[in-house]
């Protein structure tokens, strides 16, 4: 059927443009990471107290603190500590945690998979639902169902997730006793336990990101639906569903993917509240731990991971947007 053609073959310069973009992005990402690590190091150095004081606690004598400081290597000047951390990072030698009696890599290795599972499950639930809600309400724009979905998503964006999570726990864990109130799943758990454990945390997180993504999707799709080419297609007798899927979506994919990337980057570091309420051993609470115990190597590494994940997601969103957009692609 003849419709607005979406060229499938790539214009000659596409891969070159993409490679240049990716190379440029990776370069600037490395620079950003370096700057972020420097900023985190300087700012965390301004916090009152250090790892030795925090470890010995309220009842430490100055002599004990000095001895521990020496043992931990905190008595060398700050710039040398930073450079040795940076050197370790570049040569792939994971530094040793000041507090936890094990290498930073090992701690992260225990926690990062947890965060990725939570983020992955939430994504798997949230993205399809959000896309469906966004597209559906855009197609039915102005109707009752659109307004209902609009108000619903707006309300969900406004409800803080700690409220969502706490109410969820009170109803499903304390009253009905259907689901656990805290994360109890371990690697030995069965699939049933795994699903039960993850239901409440994933739901609490998903509600917030679904609402945001759905609203952005709706806006992007509505924007395209008002364009002349849609009217043209309609006049030619193309069915509404086909218009949206084949013509509107490829054009709207840029902003949608951007919205998804932003929401997902939030799932890694921003899950701190959900991690606290469900006692979930993820990487966000690990970073908070690192701040309160002044464990600089661990703090730095967490900051690097969040920053890298964010940059990576934004890069992916840009690449997808370019690939989906014929105009950008042939540039």
């Amino acid at each position: 059927m003849a419709s607005v053609p979406v060229p499938l073959e790539r214009a000659p310069g596409t891969s070159f443009v993409l490679l240049r973009l990716i190379a440029g992005r990776v370069g600037s990402a490395l620079l950003t990471l370096l700057l972020v690590s420097l900023v985190v190091f300087v700012i965390s150095g301004m916090l009152p107290g250090d790892a030795a004081q925090e470890m010995l606690g309220q009842s430490a004598t100055p002599a004990q603190v000095a001895a521990l400081r020496h043992q931990l290597g905190l008595d060398v000047p700050a710039h040398i500590r930073y450079l040795s951390w940076l050197g370790g990072m570049l040569t792939g030698h994971s530094s040793y945690s000041l507090v936890a009696n094990m290498p930073v890599g090992e701690i992260i290795g225990q926690r990062l998979p947890n965060s990725l599972i939570l983020a992955g499950l939430t994504t798997a639930v949230a993205v399809p639902v959000a896309l469906f809600i966004g597209i559906y309400s855009a197609m039915r724009r102005g109707t009752f169902i659109d307004r209902a979905l609009n108000i619903g998503t707006l309300a969900l964006v406004a409800v803080p997730e700690f409220l969502m999570a706490t109410v969820g726990v009170l109803i499903f864990a304390v009253k009905l006793r259907l689901l656990p109130s805290i994360m109890l799943s371990t690697e030995h758990s069965s699939w049933g336990e795994f699903l039960r454990s993850y239901t409440l945390p994933v739901m609490s997180l998903a509600f917030v990101v679904i609402a945001q993504m759905a609203r952005m999707t709706r806006a992007a799709v509505v924007d395209q639906l008002n364009r002349p080419y849609v009217e043209m297609a309609l006049l030619k007798g193309v069915k509404p569903g086909r218009i949206v899927l084949c013509h509107v979506l490829p054009n709207a994919v840029g902003p949608i993917v951007n919205a998804i990337a932003l929401s997902l980057s939030y799932l890694l570091g921003g899950a701190i509240i959900v991690e606290t309420i469900f006692n979930y051993p993820g990487i966000a609470s690990l970073m908070v731990n690192a701040v309160t115990s002044r464990d600089m190597p661990l703090l730095q590494t967490c900051a690097m991971i969040f920053c890298a994940a964010y940059l990576l997601l934004v890069l992916i969103a840009d690449v997808v947007a370019i690939l989906a957009n014929p105009k950008l692609r042939s540039q």
């Binding site: 470890m55 309220q58 936890a100």
Partner: protein, 496 residues
């Protein structure tokens, strides 16, 4: 002469016959990457419970805060300076090796090495010499007489580890449970030690310890049946726990207090009339009722709680007397003075306490400002560093430790920097005093001195509140801390 109470037989409890088997999950207030399997580094309630799962001490606390024999069968001394400890026979570590005097010597002496980063190095510094006398006897020589040694050795940090142990990546103790899993900041799992030296113990097959820092989540986890024992229940949550059915609050009287510190080395807070004005200003009943829902005891500006064996009961209770406070303020020439108070959620209840003091102060012409500081860094940057701050002191096992750590004039944590030579002299005298009656009298005099002249005001002693599932049996309070003085692993059974 032997140490007080040490040789008494273990009292038989009135509880029904324990059952075997089952597993429980315990949630404590804190858990972080700083979690440790090294008793010397144990710092918080979670650590104390964890190390008590896997290790034993030479002595332990009973419900009256007296020392009971544990790995030490007897502890004797004629001059309270040189102590002879006879070790229990037939005790084995988890790897099967028998307990010998070398393990005890190593475990006690390692606290003196700064590289151990022990929390109680200052206490261990009084050990002048520790040596084994054959495999079953240990001799400890102290720098000066100390009748409290059996109580001191019952602290969690003094639990006995295997000779030469340094890494603490795993556990080799003599305790009731063996380590099955340990992930710092996540969970600790112990499984029943079938070769435990205490006949018939422990009762549970498995015990899991986790940390839930958020109070609401902790209570929810208890009420939804996901955990069976929690500590640090807020007084406000007690009604919720009791109303739920099937759950109980364990209220442990303790020597925990939050105190108002008035620096004595500077003016105007160092003026004795100012100190008394504040002490008469405190409405202790209101603080106990409003802040702690009556889970506590009214205090009298000195750190020995009413249930303590050395508590002096004939000391008159200082009343809430605004007129007298006003008079003292006028005597000090400080009517209308403006002063900032530094409080923080780090010192339990201090923010509310500061508001109460501010309100009461405004009625007698004292204009105090409440400066609320974040928990993070409060102890290192604010505590004792301004003229008016709040402190929060955990119960210590002996009156001597409490007074030596927080009231002796040359102590680092002499919070108000008060200096009373009579007090210092009495403290040293009491430490080596053999006669119990005389000792109690000396501690009584010290309580009076602190109450009248020291720059700290102590309104109430705060009870420690735990919540637990009624199917957990064998529960009773041990006033050194929550979770049965951190020793629940050794004591409870599951009746599910």
């Amino acid at each position: 002469m032997s140490a007080g109470g040490l040789l008494l037989p273990r009292s038989l409890s009135a509880q029904p016959k324990p059952r075997y088997g089952g597993r429980i999950r315990v949630a404590s207030i804190s858990s972080s990457t700083a979690d440790t399997l090294d008793p010397a580094k144990a710092a918080l309630s979670t650590d104390y419970v964890r190390v008590n799962m896997f290790y034993n001490g030479l002595t332990r606390y009973d419900r009256n805060l007296a020392a009971q024999p544990e790995l030490a069968e007897t502890m004797e001394s004629s001059d309270r300076q040189t102590w002879r400890i006879k070790l229990r026979k037939g005790v084995a570590f988890h790897d099967g090796k028998p307990l010998t005097s070398s393990d005890v010597v190593y475990s006690l002496l390692r606290h003196k090495d700064p590289a151990t980063a022990s929390k109680i190095k200052t206490i261990a510094d009084q050990f002048v010499e520790i040596r084994g006398d054959g495999p079953d006897e240990v001799v400890i020589r102290l720098a000066g007489p100390n009748a409290d040694l059996p109580l001191i050795l019952a602290q969690a940090q003094f639990l006995i580890v295997r000779n030469g142990e340094r890494n603490f990546h795993t556990v080799n103790g003599t305790g009731p449970y063996k380590l099955a899993e340990f992930t710092p900041g996540v969970r600790t799992v112990g499984v029943r030690n079938a070769n435990y030296w205490k006949h018939g113990r422990p009762y549970l097959d498995e015990i899991e310890l986790i940390g839930i820092p958020d109070e609401v989540s902790r209570v929810n986890a208890l009420l939804s049946g996901d955990v069976h024992f929690i500590n640090a229940v807020s007084p406000l949550s007690t009604k919720r726990v009791q109303a739920a059915g099937g759950y109980e609050i364990l209220s442990t009287p303790s020597g925990l207090y939050t105190d108002f510190i008035m620096q004595q080395k500077e003016l105007p807070t160092g003026n004795p009339h100012f100190v008394l004005a504040i002490k008469y200003l405190l409405d202790r009943g209101l603080i106990k009722r409003a802040l702690f829902r009556d889970f506590g005891f009214i205090a009298n500006d000195q750190p020995i709680p009413p249930f303590h064996p050395y508590y002096r009961s004939d000391l008159p209770q200082r009343p809430h007397d605004p007129d007298r406070a006003k008079w003292h303020l006028a005597q000090a020439g400080l009517t209308g003075v403006r002063l900032p108070m530094y409080c923080s959620p780090a010192a339990e209840g201090s923010v509310d306490m500061a508001s109460v003091i501010q309100e009461l102060g405004s009625q007698i012409g004292l204009r105090l400002a409440v400066n609320r500081m974040p928990s993070d860094g409060y102890w290192s940057t604010h505590w004792m560093k301004h003229p008016l701050t709040f402190g929060n002191n955990n119960p210590r096992p002996t009156a001597d430790l409490m007074f030596s750590l927080f009231y002796k004039s040359d102590s680092v944590w002499n919070e108000s920097k008060w200096n009373n030579p009579t007090f210092d002299r009495l403290l040293l005298e009491a430490r080596g005093e053999a006669d119990e009656h005389r000792r109690k009298q000396l501690y009584g005099e010290m309580q009076e001195l602190v109450s009248d002249y020291c720059g700290v005001a102590i309104p109430v002693f705060i009870n420690l509140l735990d919540g637990y599932d009624r199917r957990v049996k064998g529960v009773y309070p041990i006033p050194i801390g929550g979770l049965m003085g951190y020793m629940l692993a050794d004591n409870v059974w599951w009746d599910g």
